[in-house]
């Protein structure tokens, strides 16, 4: 992990090359995170991957979370590792729901990190976040005719109602 001052240094250097790309940083429970502007996400990921001295070349995980009722509600997380220094950094892009029935959109990073292919499809499948430029953005774990985005927090968990047959028969 870069420590808290290290994280600020990284932020300052990104700020020099891409002004306004990093909106804030957080250092919580020993985990460093950069909150980035979704429009400049690929620029930041490319910078972290290719800049000499940074070398966050390994994308270990890409996942999303729904922060409802916060706004913007969706967060897409990129867990990057620098394997030489064994440092992890999390890049977070926050997206809001367009509200007109269309899906929130984000640029795909498959060309930069081929490993993101399945994981972006998984995020699309469960959260309905569209990745622009993904080679094959289809549902991956759910059936292709499934309707809805089940990992969103306003999607019900489901289950079967409990039937009180004994009570209904005798006392109902």
């Amino acid at each position: 992990m870069p420590d808290a001052p290290g994280l600020e240094l990284i932020r300052g250097e990104i700020e020099r090359d891409h002004p306004g790309a990093v909106t804030s940083t957080s250092f919580d429970r020993e985990q460093a995170a950069l909150l980035v502007d979704p429009a400049q996400l690929i620029a930041v990921l490319t910078w972290l991957r290719n800049t000499p001295g940074q070398g966050y070349r390994f994308l270990s995980s890409l996942h999303a979370a729904d922060y409802l009722p916060a706004e913007p509600r969706f967060g897409v997380h990129y867990e990057l590792i620098n394997r030489e220094r064994v440092e992890r950094i999390r890049v977070k892009a926050m997206l809001s729901d367009p509200g007109d029935g269309s899906l929130p959109q984000l640029d795909s990073c498959v060309e930069l990190f081929p490993t993101a292919n399945f994981q972006e499809r998984e995020v699309f499948d469960f959260f309905g976040i569209e990745f622009r430029g993904h080679p094959e953005l289809t549902r991956i774990l759910l059936p292709e005719d499934y309707v809805g985005w089940p990992q969103r927090r306003d999607f019900p968990v489901g289950g079967e109602p409990v039937t009180f047959t004994y009570n209904e028969r005798n006392y109902g």
Binding site: D66, F126, I140, L141, F155
Partner: protein, 419 residues
């Protein structure tokens, strides 16, 4: 000259260019260059679970393939959002059903980081011990079934014989042979019983001998060597781009293991090595896993030697159940017990990504807490899911039979892939 003899002469001269079908004039078109798309699975014994493969074949050679997954998706991650933190543990165990202790450790470790709970030394050692027993168990299942794919039926019986001894140990400590729910937030649920140490030690002593016997069966087996050596090679850079971790990456010569790189539990205090391969073919993948079993047996023995006395679970009553004996005498313990089993404990808002080294690579658990007693999001970065992307590279331009071998060596657990 009879017609029969003319045909024989052609066949002899242009044997490479003509097939029997061409000679007998049965086919008008050239069938050897035609691409054919074939569906394999989802219900096929060689796919090690419910995996469907759409394969483009040219003759018997695989040119391209696409894994189609999701047949055992059960929505575990969604269900976790409806359970209090401690009730999530048995749920996540059922994802990758061969390495359940790793799932528990990834999840419990993440929750412990969220609440800032330090686990006692004895619990750390016990967790490490069971994780490594589980690693051997997982590799034994892999070795038995993969060797079976290559026709070595006896390997399955030998591997499952040793696997049964591990399951006996799990049963002894936790009461269950699979899906033990042994790890709890704060430590482990119960101390190991009398007699466990002796049984476990004798297993750790036997295991390297057994591994030697497996090697004697396979390493000089001409069929096994020809089927695995030089097959399914993917170079190291490509594997890293595809996010592959674990034995597959190490077989290609990259010594990346989270137990050494980002030490957790008691791994920094233990003496063990990380086996790596050189070529990155299926034979190296086999060698790496077999060597890992010996290293894991060494870790198990070291954990038993160094096992400290003391509590096996943290004392913090806000997160950990009070001992059973106190419930009938202490009102306060009863209240704590009641609060924990009804509402569960609340976790302050925050998020954590906790990654450990599972038998298949990096197993990451992301937990988002919103201040309530239920997690707002539990996500597992399952190594099988990510590793499966490299399968098209491994199987491209090899025979169907080699594709099956590569799939076995990839070692995907479909419960983990689909979750």
């Amino acid at each position: 000259m009879a017609e029969h003899e003319v045909r024989e002469a052609i066949a002899f001269e242009d044997a490479a260019a003509l097939t029997t079908a061409d000679l007998t004039g049965e086919l008008s078109e050239d069938r050897t260059t035609e691409l054919m798309t074939v569906n394999i699975g989802p219900h096929h014994p060689a796919t090690h679970g419910v995996l469907r493969l759409v394969v483009d074949l040219e003759g018997e050679v695989v040119r391209d393939l696409k894994p189609v997954i999701g047949y055992v998706h059960t929505g575990i991650e969604k269900s976790c959002e409806d359970k209090s933190y401690w009730k999530v543990i048995p749920f996540v165990e059922r994802m990758d059903y061969v390495s359940y202790f790793f799932q528990m450790q990834a999840y419990c470790g993440a929750v412990e980081q969220l609440v800032g709970l330090e686990i006692p030394p004895r619990a750390k050692y016990l967790r490490t011990l069971f994780l490594e027993l589980n690693r051997i168990h997982s590799h034994l299942v892999w070795l038995g079934t993969t060797a079976l794919d290559l026709g070595a039926i006896s390997m399955l019986w030998y591997c499952f014989r040793e696997r049964d001894r591990i399951l006996d140990l799990f049963e002894m400590a936790a009461g269950q042979r699979m899906h033990t729910r042994y790890f709890q937030v704060g430590g482990v649920i119960e101390d190991i019983p009398l007699g466990f140490e002796q049984k476990c030690r004798s297993f750790a002593e036997d295991m390297p001998v057994r591994v030697g016997q497996y090697e004697a069966l396979l390493d000089r087996n001409e069929v096994f060597l020809q089927r695995t050596k030089g097959v399914g090679i993917v170079d190291r850079e490509r594997l890293l781009d595809l996010g592959v971790t674990g034995p597959l990456l190490r077989a290609a010569g990259e010594p990346w293991d989270l137990r050494k790189a980002t030490p957790y539990l008691v791994y920094p205090e233990l003496d063990f090595k990380i086996p790596v391969g050189t070529v990155g073919d299926n034979y190296d993948r086999y060698r790496v896993r077999v060597a890992e079993m010996v290293e894991s047996a060494k870790i198990v023995a070291q954990c038993l030697d160094a096992l400290p006395e003391g509590p096996f679970i943290a004392e913090d009553r806000k997160y950990v159940l009070p001992p059973r004996s106190e419930l009938s005498t202490s009102m306060e313990s009863l209240i704590h017990h009641f609060k924990l089993v009804t509402e569960g404990f609340r976790v302050e808002a925050g998020e954590v990504y906790n990654a450990i080294e599972s038998p298949r690579g990096e197993l990451g658990c992301y937990v988002l807490a919103d201040g309530s007693s239920k997690p707002a999001r539990v996500h597992f970065r399952d190594a099988s899911f990510v590793n499966l992307q490299s399968f098209a590279d491994m199987a491209a331009d090899s025979y169907i039979a080699d594709m099956i071998c590569s799939l076995g060596m990839l070692d995907p657990i479909l419960g983990g892939v689909d979750r």
